[in-house]
Symmetry: C2
Subunit: 216 residues, 2 copies
């Protein structure tokens, strides 16, 4: 974990105070939205948490809606990047094994960035009931869906996937599972319990829920 970038690898890394302040506000927004949801969180809450003035916040983000979209993009980029890096670093293992390696990175991310997983998961539900935020949700769901489609297509090409498994709807299933796991973060109360859950999910995708103990 030594070379981990603390502010999310998907975002251009600035050198000045401006980039730092912007990242500080986004981090605060992720924590606040994860705790109170969109409607209960005010820009003042976020400014207070980020230790900046509300005026400075408006210098960087036009509105709460804008801030929510940017925070969601940031959170999703972080998670996507974790999976992409796992795939790049283990190009020879099966696709489901790559997904497991990505989940291990997400466990580390979930511990180092409070609120990230819960925010990303709850955002999907929130956005369903708020059409004004829909655009960004579609875009981010789309990125995850593309990642899962690419993984399943790779699995098929390498002969790792049963012939009767449909790629498009299975990618949707993986998206549903990840959304559900994101929501669960708000329920389990401890990072270690959550980590154990993500590891049990690895057993599920590896087929271990339907494998007898004598088959290693």
């Amino acid at each position: 974990m030594e070379n981990k970038k603390s502010r999310g690898p998907g975002r251009p890394v600035g050198t000045g105070n401006a980039a730092q302040t912007q990242a500080q506000i986004l981090n605060a927004a992720i924590v606040c939205f994860s705790e109170g949801g969109y409607s209960s969180t005010s820009n003042r809450d976020i400014a207070q948490r980020a230790q900046v003035t509300t005026g400075l916040l408006y210098h960087y983000f036009a509105s709460k809606q804008d801030l929510y979209r940017c925070a969601l993009r940031e959170a999703n980029e972080c998670l996507l990047q974790a999976y992409r890096e796992a795939c790049e670093e283990a190009p020879d293992v099966t696709s489901m094994e790559q997904l497991c390696l990505g989940l291990e990175r997400v466990i580390a991310l979930s511990e180092s960035r409070p609120g990230l997983m819960r925010f990303a998961g709850s955002a999907v539900a929130e956005v369903q009931q708020r059409p004004d935020l829909v655009v960004v949700a579609d875009a981010s769901e789309d990125s995850f869906l593309k990642l899962f489609i690419a993984l399943l297509e790779r699995a098929r090409a390498r002969g790792e996937l049963r012939a009767d498994v449909d790629i498009t709807s299975s990618a949707g299933v993986l998206l549903a599972c990840f959304i559900g796991l994101g929501l669960m973060h708000g329920v389990v109360h401890s990072e270690s319990t959550y980590a154990q859950m993500l590891r049990s999910f690895q057993h599920l995708i590896m087929g271990h829920f339907a494998q007898s103990p004598d088959k290693p």
Copy 2:
């Protein structure tokens, strides 16, 4: 499906108009809440949809909160009952096969009762951000968790589950997946696409995402 009870098998079946009116209001509440969420739905919306007066609605349900709780209990009871019936009717198959049979029943239920799956799924997210509704959510999540724990314990006892799969956190994973799939109902727009997704999820729990085509 000839003997299907249209109003949910978990609820005592009344014979008079009262039970019928109450069920009518609950059905309307499920549809309204699934479309607009808790805060955007009024008791008047629900009364209009149920084709009763607001006064009559208040005769049966003390408040919107009460109505939400009863609707959620009704929705969860319907879904739970589908899994329980599947288990009872196929006592000899593996636990994961029983879960697949339950999912087939849910596909039928999702087609016959509009809004049911979406409401049940979105309720979990909603309830996380509304502490006043928490009690019922815990109770219903608990029922699903108990169902999954019982299924996994049965699988372990029958030698169908890998030794390193932890039952408690795996039951949590199944709950997360079902919540995610519930939320997905609002995204996919067609019952047939949704049914295909629930069938792909069956492949996931049966281990087919990590099974090569030449292993039947």
